[in-house]
């Protein structure tokens, strides 16, 4: 048989796996990438159709993707089929695990909001007096952030604020660019008057409107001739050499044929997404001498919103320059030890101007409702937040031995519950937005401090966190498992705290840093 032995096996093809392949292959290291799903052909696999011709008129096919609130009838086929790869949870503790197994993973579809974490996150325990610090600081990761920002062409406005570290920004365009409307200027003045800094969104421009592993990372890796990619390869278990205790490859199953295969590698890098990488380690019985593997699952709260209507903009009478545009407010709460609130950590606010009201906002129907919607059209300013959930030991995943996926691989049971901190933070955010909008003279149309179930943000992290102490963490600061030095996890599982920020830039920077270090260690013969 033609079995090869690779230097590095990479499991997963999204941002973290793509970065690992990019860095390692350019060092001359041979890599095999296994991806659980197929390759999408953007031309062949998408079709523009009138909504009226869809079988369910734009409704989701009932019951198909109950945990994917982002699913529509049009995009349903891009997500992992929940019947094919289920997971379990207590009905009283809902969890939304939103997955993509296409080659490139979720990097094909992310919203491209691009932020660095700050030392308010890396060293959160120092500020809050509880939890754990990361074993690294912003200074350690900054050089890698800069390289990632260049590759992904991140645009943004430099502010010099410690909680909102500036990046290696490209010039021009991007989200939130252009002149500010008078409503956004008014909001900014009021926020500034309360000591709240207001900036612009920071986003990855990418290339040709796409900022994925598929177009920004994998092509260079492939061009080295050092990368093989196998799609539809579902990894069941990491294999270990019984003599050395080191990882030596992986067992995988072909998605269509269900044929069982084994591949050999000197190093195994997991980049399947936080929960899939963790599931693989748990199913393999590896890297859990600390007992924290699967624990500290956390993400961000989404859903809090306040909508206000600008009186002079109603009935289609908004003068030019009044409405439109957006503002971005990075974290402003709990930046000082002496600040005492009924929650720790913080949230950012996203404010946009110029939309209309929703039918949900009115107790009306028929012609009366239509008149109200017409009246409020284009007159609204809305605000929402991304808030950090604390990482708690009790919020965890474990293997559900009673349930297996379509390939007989045991699935995850997710056990996560929000606490008072999340609810108190949400209340503070809704009240803050309401107070600012009212101070501007705008009429509140709706306000809610409710938020989506955990997982909805698609920013799940933390289940194989890094740390200096092997008793409290799964990975060291170089993303190597403490237990097995040639087994790495380079995706979001490594996070200690998620912050309020979209984690993609941090995942990429961590994967780049870990891969650079791995390459050097392999060169020295240490791995």
């Amino acid at each position: 048989m033609a079995a090869k032995e690779y230097d590095v096996l990479i499991v997963g093809s999204g941002h973290s796996g793509g970065m690992a392949a990019n860095v390692l292959t350019r060092k001359g290291i041979s890599c095999l990438m296994l991806n659980a799903g197929p390759e999408a052909d953007f031309a062949r696999d998408r079709t523009a159709k009138p909504v009226s011709e869809l079988p369910y008129r734009g409704f989701n096919k009932p019951g198909r993707l109950p945990h994917v609130y982002q699913a529509t009838e049009a995009n349903a086929n891009q997500w992992v089929d929940e019947k094919e790869v289920p997971y379990t949870h207590d009905p009283a503790k809902p969890y939304n695990w939103v997955r993509v197994r296409l080659l490139g993973g979720r990097s094909l579809f992310w919203a491209r909001q691009s932020f660095r974490l700050s030392d308010f996150e890396f060293k959160a325990a120092d500020l809050e007096g509880s939890g754990e610090n990361w074993p690294i600081s912003l200074a350690d990761l900054a050089p890698y952030y800069s390289q990632v920002e260049a590759i992904f062409r991140v645009t943004g406005r430099k502010e010099g604020w410690p909680q909102f570290p500036d990046g290696n920004f490209v010039e021009g365009g991007g989200f939130g660019g252009g002149a500010e409307s008078r409503t956004i200027r008014r909001f900014t003045e009021l926020a500034n008057g309360r000591g709240i800094g207001v900036s612009r969104m920071r986003s990855a421009l990418g290339v040709n409107g796409m900022a994925s592993s598929l177009n920004l990372l994998l092509p260079d890796a492939i061009s080295t001739g050092k990368l093989d990619i196998v799609s539809n390869a579902i990894v069941r278990e990491i294999s270990v050499d019984k003599k050395t205790g080191l990882a030596d490859g992986a067992h995988f199953v072909e998605r269509h044929s269900r044929r069982e295969m084994h591949v050999k590698a000197r190093v195994v890098v997991l980049a399947a997404g936080s929960l899939e990488s963790t599931r693989l380690l748990l199913n393999s019985g590896l890297a859990n001498s600390s007992g924290v593997l699967g624990h500290y699952l956390h993400d961000q709260i989404y859903g809090v919103s306040v909508v206000a209507s600008v009186p002079e903009a109603r009935d289609g009478k908004a003068p030019a320059g009044l409405m439109g545009g957006s503002a971005f407010v990075p974290r402003f709460r709990n930046l000082k030890k002496e600040e005492k609130r009924d929650f720790i950590k913080g949230y950012c606010m996203l404010v946009s101007s110029g939309a209309g009201a929703s039918p949900n906002h009115f107790a009306a129907y028929g012609e009366e409702l239509r008149k109200l919607l017409d009246r409020y059209a284009g007159s609204c300013v809305s605000g929402t937040i991304y808030g950090e959930r604390p990482a708690r030991f009790e919020n965890h995943v474990r293997i559900d031995k009673e349930v297996a996926d379509a390939w007989g691989i045991p699935v995850l049971h997710v056990d996560v519950k929000d606490g008072d901190n999340e609810h108190n933070m949400a209340k503070d955010a809704a009240n803050t937005l309401e107070e600012l909008f009212q101070a501007a003279g705008w009429d509140i149309v709706s306000k809610t401090d409710r938020f989506y179930p955990p997982g909805y943000s698609i920013h799940e992290v933390g289940t194989a966190r890094m740390g200096d102490d092997p008793r409290k963490s799964v990975l060291n600061q170089w993303n190597q498992t403490h237990d097995i030095r040639n087994l790495l996890v380079v995706d979001g599982a490594a996070f200690v705290t998620c912050g309020w920020q979209n984690p993609t830039m941090t995942i990429l920077a961590l994967s780049m840093r870990a891969s650079e270090h791995l390459g050097e260690e392999m060169r020295k013969g240490n791995v």
Binding site: R46, K49, S52, P62, E73, N75, N77, P359, H361, A406
Partner: protein, 217 residues
């Protein structure tokens, strides 16, 4: 060869493929593919290696047939028709829910929906009939507009967040029905045809086809 295929695939990626842009309804109305030479043009050359077949023009079942209501009981369906007409009447030259077959579509949709959603609708429609009989001595389908308003108005509530519906089951039902009737109306073939007739563009979506699906033989 593999590298070349990879680059070709990337070249086909359109601009702005972020999630929202890929999935949101976009104001475009794609034209039907042009005929490729008609039936006489098929299999140019006629050899075994040239098996091009001109696309056959198909019609849809909605064009040639009427849906059969199967899920709701006759009293429930009559109430749903009356409710649909009130929630989304013809306005501004657009057809209303009844003209767009929204009740018939919802009968189909609810018939394949999870049990809790089915129960929400069945109980809600039964409750409207019960209220109409109690207040006006006739089923909801037969109340006039003013009587219907008397029944519906106390049940309507503003909802600040889609995923936080009213806890009262009847208010929840009305909240859901208002959304569903509107969507079933605006996304109907009848609405699309009416929009095309006025020169406006109907809604369109970029649909992901099933990608290399796993067949369970």
């Amino acid at each position: 060869m593999r590298r070349r295929r990879f680059v070709q695939a990337l070249a086909a990626v359109p601009a702005a493929p972020v999630l929202a842009a890929q999935t949101a309804a976009v104001p475009q109305n794609p034209a039907a593919p042009p005929a490729q030479g008609g039936r006489g043009g098929r299999g140019a050359g006629g050899g075994r290696g040239a098996q091009e077949v001109a696309p056959v023009e198909l019609t849809t079942s909605d064009t040639v047939a009427a849906p059969v209501a199967r899920f709701f009981t006759p009293p429930q369906f009559a109430a749903l028709r009356r409710l649909s007409g009130l929630l989304t009447p013809p306005l501004k030259g657009n057809p209303g829910a009844l003209e767009c077959g929204a009740p018939e579509f919802l009968d189909f949709l609810l018939g394949v929906s999870p049990a809790d959603r089915q129960q929400l609708y069945r109980n809600g429609l039964d409750a409207l009939n019960a209220l109409a009989k109690k207040q006006f001595g006739k089923p909801f389908a037969e109340v006039d507009d003013a009587q219907a308003h008397t029944i519906l108005q106390p049940l309507l509530v503003a909802v600040p967040w889609t995923y936080d519906p009213p806890r009262d089951p009847l208010k929840h039902f009305l909240f859901a029905a208002r959304q569903d009737v509107e969507t079933a109306t605006r996304n109907s073939p009848e609405w699309s045809a009416a929009a095309a007739g006025t020169g406006r563009r109907g809604g369109a979506a970029l649909v992901w086809n099933a990608i290399d699906p796993v067949y369970r033989g």
